[in-house]
Each structure stands twice: as C-alpha cells, then as structure tokens.
Symmetry: C2
Subunit: 244 residues, 2 copies
C-alpha cells in the first residue's frame, strides 16, 4: 500500500493543513505516491511529545513511515518567568529530547528518512501585539519568546542533525534571509502566514528530493488512467500487481 | 489510534488537497480527531475503481475507516462518440458499480458511514474553451460531457442512496442553486474552483455532522496541552490512556 510520511510537531505542524499550508501542499505533491500524516500537537514541547512516541510510532510496526519530519522548539523556547513559561524546556534537554525521538524512530525503522526542522524566528513586536490583542493593558511588556532565544534552540537542533548525520531545515536562518520576514512569514510573531508556510514546504521538498524521496520519481500506487485499456481494464491492474 | 475518513473518488477527490481544497479543509477541521485519507484517482470511472476496492478496503481489517465518501460519475458521464469516450460507463452500470462499492464497504465494516456524492454540474462552454486551449481548431465542436447527462448520473446516485438508506450530497443540484455557478464553481467546466470546493466541504461537513460525526464532538487523540500539568506531565497521559 501507499507509504506514509509523518509530520510530527507542535501547532505549526497541526495547522499545516490550513489553506495554503505546507502539510496540505505536501499531500498534494505526493498525491497517489505517499500519504502525508499530520501528527502536530498544538502547544506541545519536546518533553510532552516524548509521551506520544510509542503511541504514534509503535515498535515492530510492519509499515513504519518512510519519512518523518520532527518540528519542535517553538514552545520549548518560551522563556521562564514569562506568560508561556509552562511550555519552557531548557535548551540542553530540548536537544536530548530530540535525540530520543530520533533514536526511537531509528529503532522503528533504520531506513526511515528523518528530517529535523528548527523553530522559526520570532517577531517580538508581533508577539507583543498579539498579547495586547488578548489581554489589553494586562499584557506583559516583556515578550514571552525572543528571536535570540529561538536562535539558540535552532542552533542546537542543527547541531544534533550534524551529530546524527541527518538532514535538517534551519528555518530560523532561512526565513531571516528575506527582507521583511517579520510580517511576511509570521502572522502573530510565531505562527506562519501562507508565505511562511510556503518556505517550509519548499525546504522540506528540497530535503526530501535530495534524500531520494522526490514525488516525481515515486511510482503511482495504481495504474495511471491513461494506461488502462477500456476494452480490457483488468490487464493494467494485473500488470501493476505483478510488478509489485 | 486516530480513526480514518477516506475520500474515494476521481480527480475531483485527487485534487482536494490543493490550496483551498475540500480534502485539506476536512483534514484541518478533523485535526487531532480523524485522519483524512485521499483515495482519489484522476480519470477513473466506477468500472475501473472496482479493481481497487479490495486493495484500498481489505476485508478483515482491524481498523476500517469510520467513514468514506464515494464521489464518482464525472468520468462515467463522459459521452460515447466524443473525445473522452474511453471513460464512459452506461448509467445503469454506474449505479450498479456504486452499489457494489457500498456493499463491499458494508462488508468491511457494518458501522462505516458511507456518503454518496453526485458528479458536479457541467459548464459546457467551459469544457469547449478548455478543449480549444488544448487542441485549438482540432477541438471537437461538440462537448464531451453535457450538463444534462451529468444530471442523469446524479439522479441515479441519489436514487441509490435512497434505496440503501445512505446520506448523499446532490452536488449537481446544489451548485446550480447559485447564480453564476458555471464560472464561480467550475474552473474548466468540470473541475472545482476554491469556491466550488468550499461547497463540497460544507455539504460533507453537514452530512457528517447530521450522522454524529461532528469534529467538535469527537475527542482529541491525546491531552490538549492546557490539560497537561508542567510539574507532572505524565498524569494527563495516564488519565487519557485509562479513559480509552
């Protein structure tokens, strides 16, 4: 049957099937080639996500995913002592939690393509505006996330990918290459606009393609309709089954 | 694990994860509640789709889908003697093929919610323009699909749903209730614009909700992040597992 590609992450993954989202775009690109499975959990940090590992990726599965993106850090990087501190995870623990995720996935399937994605940059002004829209004058003056801290988490994520020889997407760096990234790519200083989602999509497709997971090179799961002989439709299906 | 909702159909289903597509919108609506699985096969008619049934919906599966939409007819209704005649299936056979699909799905799971969707209406002018854009002066003057014929197939689909006491979406009728449906809902006289896709989304969500499959009433697959105690995160996961 059709192989699975799992998107494992926080709200930025959970929301990836919204209109113009990177998950939906991947699903369209891999149409009839692979199923894109959304395993995004809004608000989760890596510490909490570890509780999900064995449920989402059971050991001994006969059909483990062929690829998984691991996309956490935006919540881990919430600052201590600020409004989102309950989500905070120290950066060294963040890295070790990612390592445990990778180890588990490798145990599920040594051939699984694992791609680490760093948290996006933070537009602190955007976060403050968002806080004011929620809490008005009660909003804290100090942002609950800073771009500098997100960058430290991004660096740890990329460092781990290098250590484990895994492909990675440094979204924090990549987005900041574009003038006006603050508003162009981020809707509330943290979550993605359609343009921001397009960056994730392009980067993931690039990494997948470089790792021999290009949709254009993958076979259709059943005959293309143009290969079916209307006078003898069964033939195309028999051939496909024999080839498998 | 998370239940599955399968979208089984032709290109209008296959393309449903394009930006603003009804499949992606369903996936977003059922995020963390159910997986929306795209089983759309561009160009397929019901006769060819029957070859897929046992592959896509194996008997004896421990986890059959909780719901399936069956959305064929646009290709079956292609006219004999015109450019798309290879896809043509006589209307009575179309109805019997749909019946066989339903019977098979019921055999897979007697509790599966099965929703029949009729083909959309046809904008014959749009089809002609599309043919001219492909073949120029070589394009046949006569359209390969007509709205009247699509309506006959739609009626057979709804008739079968009534016979089998299944919910259905009469997309052919529904779309024509709106002034300017020809351009508003159809991009090339047959496939859906974003607005057309929104009609399918709304109708499917309505039918699902009327059949006790409302996303808002379905449980999250794991604790909502607000229910996790940062001092003792394991507790929320234990409780969730015990509740299942």
């Amino acid at each position: 049957m059709r192989p699975q590609i799992v998107l494992f992450g926080d709200s930025i993954t959970a929301q990836s099937f919204r209109s113009g989202g990177w998950g939906a775009d991947l699903a369209d690109t891999y149409s009839r080639k692979a199923d894109i499975v959304n395993r995004g959990f809004g608000g989760y940090n890596t510490r909490w996500a570890l509780f999900l590992l064995h449920h989402l990726f059971p050991l001994g599965s006969a059909t483990p995913p062929i690829a998984t993106t691991i996309f956490f850090g935006a919540n881990d990087a919430a600052l201590s002592g600020r409004t989102s501190e309950r989500q905070h995870v120290p950066v060294d623990e963040y890295k070790e939690n990612l390592r445990r995720m990778v180890q588990h996935l490798k145990e599920c399937s040594p051939t699984m393509l694992i791609v680490l994605i760093t948290p996006p940059p933070i537009n602190e002004e955007g976060r403050k505006e968002y806080a004011r829209s929620l809490y008005g004058d009660m909003a804290m003056e100090l942002p609950e996330r800073t771009n500098e801290t997100a960058g430290i988490y991004a660096e740890k994520c990329v460092e781990l990918a290098r250590e484990l020889d895994l492909p990675s997407v440094n979204l924090w760096s990549k987005m900041q290459e574009t003038e006006g990234w603050q508003e162009k790519f981020l809707s509330d200083g943290l979550h993605l606009t359609k343009e921001g989602s397009a960056v994730v999509y392009q980067e993931v497709v690039r990494v997948f393609s470089e790792s021999c997971l290009s949709a254009s090179k993958m076979p259709y799961d059943f005959p293309h309709h143009s290969k079916i002989d209307p006078a003898n439709p069964g033939k195309a299906f028999q051939q496909q089954c024999m080839a498998e």
